[in-house]
Amino acid sequence: MAALNNLTEHLEAFVDVTRSPTHHAESLKAIATSLEKGVLSINQLVVEMDMYLTTTDDVVRARGSILLLAEMLDYLKSKPLDNAVVHSLIGFFTAKLAEWRSVRGALSGCLALIKRKGVAGVVTAVDAEAVAKSMAQSIQVQSLALYDRKLCFELLECLLEQYPEAMINLGDLMVYATCEAIDGEKDPPCLMIAFHVVELLARLFPSPSGPVASEASDLFEFISCYFPLHYTHTKGDEASIPREDLSRGLSLAISSTPFFEPYAIPLLLEKLSASLPVAKVDSLKCLKDCAVNYGVSRMKKHYKDLWPALKDALYASTKTDLSFGLESLTSPGFEMGEIHREAVNLLQRLVKQDISFLGLVVEDIRVNMVFDTISRYLRYEEMLDTSKLEVLVVSQILSVSARSSVESCNIIFETFFSRLMNTLGIVEKTSPGDLVHNENSTVSTRLYHGGLHLCIELLTASKDLIPSSEECTSTPESAQQSWCSIVNRFSASLIEAFTSAVQSSNDDCSADAYLGVKGLLAMGMFRGGSSPVSRSEFEKILTTLTSIIAANSAKTVKWELALKALVCMGSFIDRYSESEKAMSYMAIVVENLVSLVRSSHCSLPHPMILEATSEVCSTMPTYVEKMVEGFEEAFCSSFSDFCVSLGPMTLDRKVFTIVSVSISNKQGIESFLISNYYLENTCQVNGNFKSIENCSQLLECVTNKLLPRLTEIDGLEKSLVNFAISMWNQIESSIVFSYDFNGREFVEAAMKTMGEIVGVASVDSQNSIIQKAYNVISSSTLPAMESIPLTVAALEGLQRNLSTRDELILSLFASVIIGASPKASIPDVKSLVDLFLVSFLKGYIRAAQALGSMINKLVTGSGGTNISTDCSLEEACDIIFHESDSSKTICGSETFLGKICLGFCGSLDLQTRAITGLAWIGKGLLMRGDKRVNEIALVLMECLKSTNSSGNALHPSAMKHAADAFLTLMSDSEVCLNRKFHAVIRPLYKQRFFSITVPILESLIVNSQTPLSRTMLHVALAHVVSNVPVTVILDNTKKLLSVILEGLSVLSVDSVHKETLFSLLLVLSGTLTDIKGQQSVSDNAHRIIECLVKLTSYPHLMVVRETAIQCLATLLELPHGRIYPFRREVLQAVTKALDDPKRRVREEAIKCRQAWTSISSRSTPF
């Protein structure tokens, strides 16, 4: 009973027009849920609503009852209902359609019922018929409001879709009703449905004696008046249907039935000839739909009018500027407007559908005239615009027609190709293998650009028609391949013609080269066994293109075109997996280029060979393998070139042979040592510059071109790992290096390549590289360094620098370690730690980075059940920090490194190196979240004090290094310890370091004794603050602001700190704009402004001035009362900045000045 009581309440609420829509929705929902749950049945509801349904108050009746019932049904779409209920309800709604006051409720009720699909409670066909009849007879759609009209159309659509048989029974009535409903409709959503209704009607009544056929003219009249669609009100209607969709709907409606043909085609042709671009596009699209749906026989009648209209559209939409650029080698070469594209589609459709349409094309006088035009001009630039247009459009027409079907292609080739060849003077091959005669023939080829263009277009069009091998066997060859044989007859001469076009081209005119290369490309892209171009001819094309690449000595357009063409052909071969052609490609292109890479003496500059090779070879995995092999060899040969490059004396060479023999036998160490000495003296000290340069370029090519494409090319990783290993082999086998000037560059490149290869390699490959590298290391003199005791005396005594070879080995090995993943196993970690420790104290930063990486990735002792390493993090740290314990020669309990850093012992050089090294080790520890970093940070901060704990003054250079160490610790490094190199990175490590160090640094700044120490502390703080995420700063603005400001003023004294100053200024500018920082900014406004005003005249860095002025402008967001007092001061500073030497500062100054001026009511006060 409670449910019923509630129901009455809800009903009252819904019926009451004065209540808000949300109220209505709520009550509606409440009733619906109770219905759905079964608390209430429909019958009960209807009984309860009795009063509302029958009241004489129209509003209450229409709104409250009928609409409520309808909406309720919409809610209950999926609830099974009794058939009897449905029947009586639909009867009720059908009857109510006649009553205009309640038409909305009735319509939505009908719609909700008709839409019901599924098991229980569907409207029967008889009822549906009744609905349709009642609707047709009693509703005048156009007199209704927008929403109701939409309901009407939806109802019609639904009826037609779901009860086709019932609607067929109604026949004429439905067509009339639709006509009447559409007439005058202007709303896009309604029209969208209306067009669909027409389409449905056309589908329902396909017979020529049916109602649609007889009413076609009327129906068409109603829909055709919308063509071409044009929106008059565009602004407010953004949410409704876009023009494209509606126009597509209209097009479908127009093309829905062939009965519209007599009316539609003339209309469309008329609109096509209009000047409005939208009309043209729409008519072309619609014509295409019509061509598909009306059928050939009906369309045939209109061909005579259609062809000229289409031709005109093509002529009008083509632009005459043909591009001869690199990018258009694989595209048509001119801009395609939308009209053009649609016209081309229509033409293709028509030709494909009916070959007889092609007759019009072939006989067209303009098409035939083109050969005269072609032969009038040799060069494209010489042509008049009209002739250009003629050539382009006709090429387009012919190629599109040829592309449509095999028959059309045959006809086009039979009719035009020989003529074209005649015009161009290209001779037919009389018998196979007759090439030699042709070359001597009297007819010389005339390379008309227009003709070549046409020819290329035709060839490109036809190449898509070659069936794939399976199709080829099923269809008889004779009938369809006649174009093939035509091309085949001319292929040899064509290739020759294109080749000569390329060869005759010179630098100032790219058209010849472009057309030649494009032609060769077109000839080379025929696929399959039935290709009109034989294998030998294909190989000839490849040879030509390759020779272009090899012959040029500078990067010309021709060179680039040829390269691109080769790359296209390579990827084409890969895509269609043409094994035969792949073999030719491999033999001619790949091998040639790779051999060019190998031979260091050729006219082509080395970077260009590398570029060409890497581009061409990355088209297929097998080529890549080949290329990397080639690179390996090239590397080895150039490497050995500059490692040992002997003088001209034969004696020396003999000595060298003896030496190599003695080494390979692993005997005669003494003689080796002697001859080694001898060799070092007889070698050309300068080495071979060219080969060392080649080597670095090759490595750069590997890093920049190949490595980024690792994921695209299968098998590349393996080849690269092999490459890395062979690098090590090569280094192992070479004894003497001599490099001076370019050497640095080479070592850098080698380190980078090695590191990156290791970085991308899998763990197994990494292991093999590491093993190899370790073997090389242990066979060198480097292990001797491990045994050096870590005492100052011993380190200082180590005066002699490493030999160049050892240095290279060390750097490369460090790179390997840097790139290795934590899972890779590194042999003999302890001695390696020693080695790196000694070498970074000797000044090899790479070693420090490697040590940092190692520390970062080692497993911890406790969980270190992993046997892959023989040393845990703890042990490694022990070695690094507590080595002094074992040697017991110096200072007792404190760490040895710390002592050096603080300058207790050792020279200044040693001190600075130790500080830098410590920073890298600290970075490794910091990133993995290890506690030991705190001690390191303490040591580094100790270094920043003016005097250390024992009262000795610290050297300024050491302090500077210590300050920079904070940058190393906090910034993201490119060279090591990043994601690429598998670093172990704990989240929020920067924040943690920030919270540890900043308070200490702040207190140190307060207590600092000398200006230098103060500056250095500020530098360190700036590094920490500027590298931490902005959010952290914003949380601490209050604390940090004053120290940042002080830092800014301290750092602005010396130009050395300009970069640091800038990054700190950026931090400040970040806090100014944020809401979190605003309170403290507002409190400190006077200090901020003072500081910024000073920086507006900072002389050392333009961006600092610019940013300072921008910050000043930002400050205007603060409360007016807070900033107004500083107005005069700021304006003075900014006015000075108007005279800044830099334009950008001046521009900012103008903006800032305008903004600050505007906070006062009157103009500038001075």
Binding site: L1101, M1102, V1103, T1135, K1136, L1138, D1139, P1141, K1142, R1143, R1144, R1146, E1147, I1150, K1151, R1153, Q1154, T1157, S1163
Partner: protein
Amino acid sequence: MTLGLLNANPVVQAKKERLARTQDQHRDYDGLDTLDTKYVRDIRDPEHPYSLEQLSVLSEDSITLDDKLNRILITFTPTIQHCRMATIIGLCLRAKLKECLPLHYKVDIRVSPGSHADEDSVNKQLNDKERVVAALENPNLRQLVDECICSNEI
């Protein structure tokens, strides 16, 4: 102002391409940028929604700058001979330059010879300090000038 526009159909030219801000300009570039003339070209015409550059009232050649003597001479060409707006355009130029330039420049503004019917008096009016200050104190004129020189591009 019921007379309608003075020049109802002016010829509109294309804007010159603006120098894009490139990254390499960002740092390491310590040369001196010369003071340039682009401050004024974006001033809007008092009559049409186009800039003075688009209307060919100003061009780069019409502005001469002498850095040694700190002098600037701007010669502009009104679109029609009887343009009443010539003085307003001149006033805009002066107001804009006052905002943008350091104080030590002396600015002379003239209409180009033969381009205006009342050339001499316009020139005199534009270079008379007191009349300029007086004009800029007139609230209506001030508003018009502010609207014209308020431009998005600098």
